[in-house]
């Protein structure tokens, strides 16, 4: 089977799954399990497509699946290496999310919410996400982008009982649709120049525009960038993200963090590296992308530090981490025209960080989900000491936290190292970029601070006994496996960074002419252990050999352990010492709120009477009410479509049930009437055919 066919079948499986789970929606357990099966099948299909594409090159359809007459647009699919890379990530995330959701969505807190609003929507969401990365026609790109946005909107407002959720959903809907409108304008601008929506035509149109009408091209690029940056959660356009992520149920937040926000990066790379011809434009826009990324790193992460709710903390970190990715990609775009060697390293660093980010960020969302599963809350100040009931989750949370904070040898460090060293190298060409790099380095320590708070208040410290629910054991296996897989990937990609980097390099190099970038060996060196030795043509610049260091480090730890046991000191278990005073558990807990107060005070904004903590100027959005809550009613499909339908049907069935009176004579009468009717019908039929 050719890869495209397999891809279409895999995505159709998801659509079929959506229909099946919608029909069976009331049987919660069955729906959840069935959806996992569908996700598993489609993931296997898509992953095999990814492997085929990486081994045998780009796969594409020769003729469009659907043609739109009049505007020269058709549903053309092409899976090149970049698409394959993103498809691989999406397939992995989709299966992990589905597996995690099986038990999570059957929590008691969701008992009164219909799963019809979750699993089918999730499937449509992932199917559209997959199509976004493979279409090569701007018109259909736009359509799938819109389906994805709508599906994600319905996932955000899943918990409709909550007023805040609906408001967060509305904010999300509004902001992303403004962005989509901008994208539409940009596409129309370029379309009017080229006359076709296909990516190839866009490239030619941009080429001619860069000479004939550079101002208009800048405008189109601005709109496209705004649209993608909004989706990626880059501040200030990403203002929707913390609200929407913390309102959605955890599997959905995890799905967004693992796939949807990353499509913003896909869009940026597709437009600014692949479609936009390498020129002064890439230089200008590279700096803008990197600048916006740095702003997000700074504001997003510092704001995360003051959050006191797990999901909000994680979603501000999504913004911060997207900033790192944009910084890498922006540097790469900038250097395309200046120094291609540095360009490919920075681009690879950005995309590699994206892959790592998917792993540890989904893992952290799953950890937060496990805490919800156990205690029913996402508030840091209400829980503590959960390592006693969630020992495995606690260790995994520490691993993922260290990875996101960039502690070697975990994956977050490998990609951040690439970003830092290329920004330091860039200092000679452009000191501004070194400034970005230093901010990124500093904020990486803030990330660590924030996750020390995250793990220590959730999992360590004094065990909060006031949670009566917390008597159960560790989370079930289906919730454990996704966490373990993601944590393992974080470790593996950290120790053997060359493994993912090989594919990242390949897919980015394939976007431009074959000899535009130097070959991989000449940049990273040929180390037998897969270490990275970046070389920009003037000798080795920076070195990071994680496998060697891990082995040596393990040896060092062995020495340390030998010292530890050298005196064969006896061990004795005892209680914690509180200066010998009587105390209640409550008195000896160190709350999340108290962490880093002196440091947080440094980032206090004060203008006249106006004073606020933190650097994030969260803009309150106006409460817009449509007369009689029209908007709310439109979006609530259950209310205007499903519920009335069910009610009519039930009313009809009630009439039939009137025949069940419980009197045997009446049943006999029905039997006789029925038999007579049947005989009459038979006779009539026989009369027509002539014999019996």
């Amino acid at each position: 089977m050719n890869p495209i066919q397999l891809f279409i079948i895999s995505t159709l499986l998801l659509v079929l799954g959506a229909i099946v789970t919608w029909i069976l929606g009331n049987r919660r357990e069955l729906t959840s399990k069935l959806s996992t099966v569908f996700f598993a099948l489609s993931s296997i299909g898509v992953l095999s497509v990814v492997f085929t594409v990486f081994s045998s090159g780009t796969a594409q359809l020769n003729a469009p699946l659907i043609e739109v007459p009049g505007i020269d647009s058709g549903l053309l699919l092409r899976i090149d290496l970049l698409s394959a890379l993103f498809l691989g990530i999406i397939a992995l995330v989709s299966f992990m999310v589905a597996l995690y959701a099986v038990r999570y969505m059957n929590l008691k807190i969701f008992a009164d919410l219909s799963l019809r609003a979750f699993f089918p929507v999730l499937m449509i969401f992932f199917a559209s996400v997959m199509y976004v990365v493979v279409v090569v026609d701007m018109f259909f790109f736009f359509i799938f982008w819109e389906i994805m946005t709508l599906a994600s909107y319905f996932l955000v407002i899943f918990n409709k009982r909550d007023k805040d959720t609906l408001r967060a959903g509305f904010k999300y809907f509004l902001i992303t649709h403004i962005a989509t409108a901008l994208m539409f304008i940009a596409v129309i601008i370029i379309y009017l120049q080229g006359g076709s929506f296909s990516f190839d035509a866009l490239e030619q149109a941009m080429q001619s525009m860069s000479v004939s009408n550079p101002g208009l091209l800048h405008l189109a690029l601005l709109f496209l960038f705004l649209a993608f940056a909004t989706k990626a959660g880059i501040l200030p356009m990403g203002d929707w993200l913390p609200d929407a992520y913390s309102s959605a149920p955890i599997p959905a937040s995890s799905a967004f963090a693992g796939s949807m926000t990353k499509l913003g990066v896909y869009g940026v790379i597709r437009i600014f590296v692949d479609i936009l011809p390498v020129s002064d434009f890439s230089q200008t826009w590279g700096i803008i992308i990197a600048l916006m990324g740095t702003i997000s790193i700074f504001v997003g992460t510092l704001t995360a530090l003051v959050q006191e709710e797990t999901k909000r903390l994680l979603s501000f970190h999504v913004i911060g981490q997207m900033g790192y990715i944009f910084l890498g990609v922006g540097m790469g775009v900038y250097f395309l025209n200046v120094q291609p060697v540095l360009a490919i390293v920075a681009l690879s660093a950005g995309v590699f960080h994206l892959i790592n980010n998917v792993c540890y960020k989904s893992c952290l969302f799953f950890n937060a989900g496990s805490v919800v599963w156990k205690t029913g809350t996402t508030n840091f100040n209400l829980v503590g000491g959960l390592h006693r009931v969630l020992p495995m989750t606690a260790v995994i949370a520490v691993i993922a936290s260290l990875s996101i904070s960039g502690v070697p040898p975990l994956s977050g460090f490998s990609s951040k190292w690439l970003i830092y060293q290329s920004s330091i190298r860039a200092a000679i060409t452009n000191p501004l970029i070194l400034g970005f790099g230093i901010i990124a380095l500093f904020i990486s320590i803030v990330t660590l601070a924030s996750f020390v708070k995250f793990t220590s208040t959730l999992f360590y410290g004094k065990y909060a006994d006031n949670n009566t629910k917390a008597k159960r054991k560790e989370v079930p296996l289906t919730m454990m496996i996704p966490q373990i897989v993601m944590a393992l990937l974080s470790i593996i990609f950290g120790i053997v960074p060359i493994l993912p980097l090989k594919y990242v390099h390949k897919s980015i190099a394939s976007l431009l002419e074959a000899d535009f970038f130097p070959p991989m060996q000449s940049i990273y060196g040929t180390d037998s252990l897969g270490g990275l030795m970046t070389n920009y043509g003037e000798g080795v610049f920076a070195v990071w050999n994680p496998l060697l260091l891990t082995l040596v480090g393990l040896f060092c730890i062995l020495i340390a352990y030998a010292f530890y046991r050298s005196g064969s000191a006896p061990r004795r278990a005892d209680t914690t010492w509180y200066c010998g005073e009587e105390h209640s558990d409550e008195e000896v807990r160190y709350r999340a709120h108290s962490f880093y107060l002196p440091f947080k005070k440094m980032f206090r904004i004060r203008i006249g009477k106006y004073e606020r903590e933190g650097v994030y100027p969260s803009i309150g959005y106006p409460k817009i009410t449509f007369g009689n809550n029209l908007f709310k009613r439109i979006t609530d499909i259950d209310k205007w479509f499903y519920d009335p339908l069910v009610n009519r049907f039930m009313a009809l069935m009630k009439r039939f049930s009137a025949t069940h009176s419980g009197v045997p004579h009446l049943y006999l009468l029905w039997l006789i009437i029925g038999t007579v009717l049947a005989v009459v019908v038979l006779f009539l039929l026989a009369g027509h055919s002539g014999h019996l």
């Binding site: 520490v398 200092a427 230093i438 660590l448 410290g461 000798g539 080795v540 278990a573 002196p598």
Partner: protein, 304 residues
């Protein structure tokens, strides 16, 4: 890969030096402090006795989890790895394994282990100490990072070997003088010496993260600090005081040792004549230092 015999020997040398010599330096500082206090003070080998005694002492386990148990082992192991990444008397033995960014982050790994030992101990003093440690890292680390980046920009390489070779053969620029002075102050803080003895602050929060550590674990943590002292001093003197170096290894080593001793004597004097700062004072203090290093960086980019 450069696993030559020479490198292997150098690696062994660094490890032995960090493990065996570092307590002696601590002993010297203690003696110095005693002299300033007009006391007789402990003998120079007292830190060795302390460590030996602690290694055999009973270990009290007050919380049953992985990181409480093994944070000391992991932290000490990480410091040994840092010893292999850092230049003591010669280029680092693992020059082909990691550059200055890796060096800085491996150092932060040991800080993370101190924090984990604090937060996993269930004692509020431990968590408080860990939060303070984090704040110190937050404000001190940028200074060290930028100072080393200035060195890297001047030498146009991130590798210790190349940076040291660069300054031995080239004039010493103004930017390095600026960041060198600032780096020295922040090293005092990294070593948890007064006036930046805020994390342990034994009179306030009873050794902070180490309040529940006992026996061999406490020994490893103490040893880790001694080793850190030696490593920081060695890195500082070999990058920022590069003059009059010799090609003969043993001469160079003795010369480095003298430089380290002089530096630690200065650290000791600063330690003994200063009272402890509060954490918020320290944070503000380092905010100023970060600003100065950025000025140094601007000088470096301008080429001087």
């Amino acid at each position: 890969m450069s696993l030559s015999m020479e490198n292997l020997g150098l690696a062994l040398f660094n490890l032995l030096l960090v493990i065996l010599l570092s307590p002696l330096l601590e002993g010297i500082i203690r003696k110095l402090v005693a002299i300033v206090h007009s006391r007789i003070g402990p003998p120079l080998y007292q830190p060795y006795l302390d460590l030996l005694k602690l290694l055999g002492k009973e270990e009290i386990v007050s919380s049953n989890n992985f990181f409480f148990r093994y944070s000391a082992v992991l932290g000490f192991g990480a410091i040994l790895l840092v010893a292999l990444l850092s230049p003591i008397a010669a280029a680092p033995p693992l020059n082909a394994g990691g550059d200055i960014i890796v060096f800085i982050y491996m150092l932060s790994f040991s800080a993370v282990m101190i924090m984990l030992s604090g937060v996993t101990s269930e004692s509020p003093y431990g968590v408080l100490g860990a939060a303070r440690e984090m704040m110190m890292v937050l404000t001190v680390e940028p200074v060290i990072v930028i100072a080393l980046i200035v060195a890297a920009v001047n030498a146009d390489s991130l590798q210790f070997g190349a940076i040291i070779a660069h300054f031995q053969n080239n004039p010493f620029p103004l930017s390095m003088v600026i960041v060198g002075i600032v780096l020295f102050i922040s090293i005092v803080a990294q070593l948890a010496r007064l006036p930046f003895d805020i994390v342990e602050a034994d009179q306030e929060i009873m050794e902070g993260p180490f309040v529940e550590q006992s026996g061999p674990k406490l020994a490893l943590f103490k040893w880790m600090f001694y080793a850190k002292e030696l490593i920081f001093a060695a890195v500082f003197v070999s990058i920022f005081i590069p003059w009059f170096h010799s090609e003969v290894f043993i001469v160079n080593f003795l010369y480095t040792l003298v430089k380290i001793l002089v530096m630690l004597v200065v650290v000791g004097v600063v330690h003994v004549v200063n009272p402890r700062l509060r954490i918020d004072q320290a944070v503000r203090y380092f905010a100023v230092l970060i600003f100065i290093t950025i000025i140094g960086l601007a000088f470096a980019l301008a080429g001087s």
